[in-house]
């Protein structure tokens, strides 16, 4: 009987090891797919709650801050120029850029038709990073019914899994901003970046009709 048990354990060892490795990598109940789904669900519930859009940025901010690594996203969007910024400038740029991202998201939410999202399986790209593909359909803003390919890039930070980039139809959110900020930083450093962001935020947000 003991021999049978020993053989069973030996045979099961590889499976158990893989299982343990997966548990260690993702942490119990802390896998990126679950985190992403629950975060997106929470954000969409707030965005499509039927309340007025003027207060949406303030209402959706906590949920976005919970799933987005805004510090990391801002640092990436600034590229190598980030190192030239003083700590005070870095803090200010992070604050302004986060504000812009939240405001931009909020202005795009219109109507009552909540988009449907079909998630694919996570694709591991490093021990602490993965990509989760998805298809978003019936998006109220779109004038067509074609689903949009959205890939979430996620990173495991001490606080848990966070989104650090989003690719929409192959266009990287971070790379797109990096291309824009690169020229600004070369022209006028952190001061010009801050001035430009402040001017952008001072202008009324363009909302979708």
């Amino acid at each position: 009987m003991r021999t049978d048990l020993f053989r069973f354990i030996l045979k099961s060892a590889p499976v158990l090891l893989v299982f343990a490795a997966v548990r260690l990598a993702y942490g119990s109940g802390d896998d990126p797919a679950t985190m992403l789904r629950s975060s997106v669900d929470e954000i969409l519930s707030i965005a499509y709650s039927g309340r007025e859009n003027e207060t949406l940025p303030a209402r959706v901010r906590p949920a976005l801050e919970k799933c987005f690594a805004f510090d990391l996203v801002t640092r990436q969007a600034m590229g190598p120029g980030w190192r030239q910024f003083s700590p005070a400038d870095q803090k200010r740029v992070t604050q302004l850029f986060s504000e812009l991202v939240i405001r931009t998201y909020s202005t795009r939410v219109v109507g009552t038709q909540r988009p449907k999202i079909a998630y694919g399986s996570p694709v591991t790209i490093a021990s602490d990073r993965c990509e989760i593909p998805s298809r978003v359909s019936h998006f109220a803003a779109s004038s067509s019914n074609e689903p949009i390919a959205v890939v979430y890039r996620m990173i495991r930070l001490p606080a848990g899994w966070r989104i650090y980039d989003v690719l929409i139809e192959g266009v990287s959110f971070v790379s797109n901003y990096r291309a824009q900020f690169d020229e600004l930083i070369q022209k006028g450093g952190a001061a010009l970046v801050i001035r430009t962001l402040e001017a952008k935020l001072a202008a009324p947000a363009a909302s979708r009709s």
């Binding site: 640092r75 689903p147 291309a179």
Partner: protein, 257 residues
């Protein structure tokens, strides 16, 4: 002369759908290669874009922006208000279905034979059960629901031809040299363009019908194009670069599909 006018009309509006709809980029998303970079991406420099005509391009961009904001945008908005969504969807589906030869031949030119068979299946199904392409029945068939659309610009990319300098075209918006050449190939393959090219005889279809069809096709594509343009512009700190990067990235991703 008539052929020339049709050609210009098609050029003006035919590309605008893809041009301002947020297509493409020469700057592919910067890959994050190793775990050591996980918390410090700032050592990855931005990729340089092939844009030697930037000053000229920015002038054309400013002109196009005014055109989209003050003319085409309000026009597209009015179209959405007046024409009910099911009718708009039907129009869009009809002209999309008509583009079957473009997609099919480019699938074959790229050696994507399974995809060319899927395109044929979509065309047959939508043309019959979908009442001449007005209803996209194929969306309800899993194997036909999500077939990436191929065009000649992508075919040239698959063949290894580089995009060349980035160009902003008056009215049409962003493009590159490869896509401009690609547009000529797609133009020749789209059935509505066979009339001005002399492939379809004048007795088959009247000028008035062709003008009406062409106008409907281009107007139908406007709302989505303008909406995408507005979205990108409203989120950008430098709309010119945001749209240039978005266009080139989108095209690079389409070629990889």
């Amino acid at each position: 002369m008539k052929h020339f006018i049709f050609g210009i009309l098609a050029l003006l509006f035919g590309l605008s759908g893809c041009a301002v709809s947020g297509k493409r980029s020469a700057t592919a998303p910067a890959p994050v290669a190793s775990a050591s970079e996980a918390t410090d991406f700032t050592n990855v420099p931005a990729q340089k874009t092939n844009d030697p005509l930037q000053r000229f391009n920015r002038t054309i961009f400013a002109f196009n922006d005014s055109l989209y904001t003050y003319a085409l945008g309000p026009f597209a908005h009015g179209y959405v208000l007046i024409v009910p969504r099911p009718v708009r969807t039907g129009i869009s589906n009809f002209f999309d279905n008509l583009g079957f030869p473009v997609r099919f031949i480019n699938c074959v030119l790229q050696g994507k034979f399974t995809r060319s068979a899927q395109e044929t299946g979509k065309f047959v199904l939508n043309s019959t059960a979908g009442v001449g392409g007005l209803i996209r029945v194929s969306d309800h068939v899993p194997s036909l629901a999500d077939v990436p659309a191929e065009d000649f610009g992508q075919t040239l990319g698959v063949w290894g031809i580089p995009p060349g300098p980035y160009i902003v075209i008056p009215v049409l918006g962003p493009s590159d040299c490869r896509d401009l050449v690609g547009f000529v190939g797609d133009y020749a393959l789209y059935p509505l363009d066979w009339y001005p090219l002399g492939i379809i005889h004048h007795s088959v279809i009247s000028d008035a019908v062709l003008i009406a069809l062409s106008a409907t096709r281009y107007v139908g594509g406007l709302p989505k194009a303008i909406d995408t343009y507005d979205q990108m512009k409203s989120a950008a700190v430098d709309p010119y670069i945001a749209i240039r990067d978005g266009y080139l990235s989108y095209r690079a991703a389409q070629i990889k599909k």
